[in-house]
Amino acid sequence: MSRPLRIAVLLLPSAILMGVFLFGLVRLIGSSLLIEGRLDFAYYDAILSRADYVAMLGRTLRTAAMTTFVCLVLGFPTAYFVARYRGNRNFLLLLIIFPWLVSIVVRSYGWVVILGPRGLINSLLTWSGLAARPLKLMYNDFGVILGLAHVLLPFMIIAILSVMMQIPRNLEEASMSLGGRPGYSFRTVLLPLSLPGVLTGITLVYLMATGAIVTPLLLGGLGNTMLGTEIFQEVMHFFDYPKAAALATVLLVTALAVVLPIQILERWLARRLSDGGAA
């Protein structure tokens, strides 16, 4: 077999899979734009002219941004701690990887059990007399963000950790031997070098948060619709596929508008930060 033919045969299975995906993507965009065979932005006009949809879009972006922020604030120190942990690091990794691999349904459901009116927290509060009535810990933004942050935190930690573990510990020592105090060393050495991981983490968390359905449905209330849950609703209850397609396209565009620049920045940084392999 000639080399090009051999390559073609090897690529065929994955190319079919990706072809199906790309074909679907084109159909998605097409069906939201073509009405009776003609280009028509009616669906988008309808979506963007409705104040509640615009508000929902805003809520989606805000929730995703908040979730990303929480993940970053919690994930970075955790990654640092794990990366520099001298003891049994595998155990710590297990505490991160295992929850990550458990279904999001189970994890979100776990939060229902914890945050619910007779859940762990409220039981503790009422039992200890700290609160007379159960607090409303879910069916609101708090519940959604907490749930999403929990579900997505491992992505952030893993992304940062995989970069941090490659930063030789030596670099921090080098900085210190040159007189860099811990804060200075962190700012000038560790932080810039772990930036690619941070950006990857932000990308993943943000994407997953904007497109989430399960967690917002389980932990959010009637007032917490997001693009994902609205799409789900549109498909499951109104069967309005073109409208769902338009909403999905809006979701894609807004997500990629945030994510692609970050990706480009990340690649650029990664190239700058790599040693070029020189010994």
Partner: protein, 364 residues
């Protein structure tokens, strides 16, 4: 070359320092005084504790016991960033996200000594021969150049002492030789005290004022390069520093600083000088070390031993013969003269000797 005897106030004193990791002793009661401007090398096999000792000086490890003094002041408790000690890492640890200039400027900025920073950075880059490379990324320069950046980075803050942990071991032979020369030159020009770690004895011999030979956490000998090579005080030092032939012998008689020996196995009496302090007495079992290049073959100069040529190996200027003798396996390195062929073919019986002044006696 500073002489041990006339040494002024040492810049750095390692005072009975011990470091224990999880019950394993990495550094064992090491005491060293380093004079200002000196080039001291820590030489020893892998795992003997060189890096650990260095890291204690740098402030990355705390001694389990003992003190480290800088100009007489105990700095054992100081953080790494408070010490005026530079460190060049084996893997260099250049900051990959900075260019050459920023790498070199790092220490000045970290210490907020930004006055005249540009001048200092450029001067030091010129010193290591890297002018014009300021804007290069560390990935865009060669291994030898990276090495120089690491050096410049540590030198620019004019540390009191510069520690170098096997800085050349990742380089290939040619480049290594070249950088050895350069390192030595820079040390002379800056006058900074260097403490250099290596496990390469040739490197140690050619660069150092004094060498501390380490073994299993201890310093076995701390002396000048010549002394270390020609008067090893322990079997370990004799064998680790250069090739050597070592036989068991017995002291027959001691006369002041010289002792008469009989090499075990064959009766081969000789009288050689010993280190004044060495506690060798008549009847003691001792070890006798002779370097291969001081072994003569064929002519029976001085006491002579019968041997058979087992093999030879050519290395350009010299031929090394492997010989089987009654005193054991011997190596003899003799100059090779082209056109004369190998004077001693394989299997030939020869007579082996050495001048008495080339023999070192090591107490058992």
């Amino acid at each position: 070359m500073p002489q041990t005897a006339t040494m002024p106030q040492p810049i750095l004193q390692i005072d009975t320092v011990t470091k224990v990791f999880d019950g394993a002793t990495a550094v064992d009661r090491v005491t060293l005084d380093v004079a200002e401007g000196e080039f001291v090398t820590l030489l020893g096999p892998s795992g003997c504790g060189k890096s650990t000792l260095l890291r204690m000086m740098a402030g990355f490890e705390t001694p389990t016991s003992g003190r480290i003094l800088m100009r007489g002041r105990d700095m054992s408790k100081d953080a790494a960033y408070e010490r005026e000690i530079g460190l060049v890492f084996q893997n260099l640890a250049l900051f990959p996200h900075m260019n050459v200039y920023d790498n070199v400027a790092f220490g000045l900025r970290a210490r907020k000594r930004t006055e005249g920073l540009d001048r200092k950075v450029r001067d030091i880059l010129a010193l290591v021969g890297l002018d014009g490379f300021e804007k290069r990324r560390t990935g865009q320069i060669s291994g030898g150049q990276r090495q120089r950046v690491a050096l410049a980075r540590s030198l620019v803050t004019s540390p009191d002492v510069l520690l170098l942990d096997e800085p050349l071991s990742a380089l290939d032979l040619k480049l290594r030789r070249q950088l050895q020369v350069e390192l030595k030159r820079i040390q002379k020009e800056t006058g900074i005290t260097f403490i250099f770690v290596t496990h390469d004895q040739e490197e140690a011999l050619s660069m150092s004022d004094r060498i501390a030979v380490m073994n299993a956490g201890r310093v076995e000998q701390f002396s000048t390069a010549v002394e270390t090579y020609h008067h090893p005080r322990t079997r370990f030092v004799a064998q680790f520093v250069g090739e050597t032939n070592l036989f068991e012998a017995r002291a027959i008689r001691r006369d002041g600083d010289s002792v008469s020996l009989s090499v075990a196995g064959v009766d081969l009496p000789m009288t050689v000088a010993v280190t004044p302090g060495a506690g060798v007495r008549a009847g003691d079992a001792v070890w006798v070390a002779v370097r291969p290049e001081y072994i003569t073959i064929g002519r029976a100069a001085g006491p002579a031993l019968r041997a058979r040529v087992a093999s030879h190996s050519f290395s350009g200027a010299t031929v090394t013969y492997a010989l089987d003798s009654a005193a054991g396996h011997l190596l003899a390195q003799v100059p090779f003269r082209p056109g004369q062929g190998h004077p001693f073919p394989h299997g030939e019986e020869v007579r082996v000797g050495w001048a008495e002044e080339n023999v070192t006696v090591i107490p058992d």
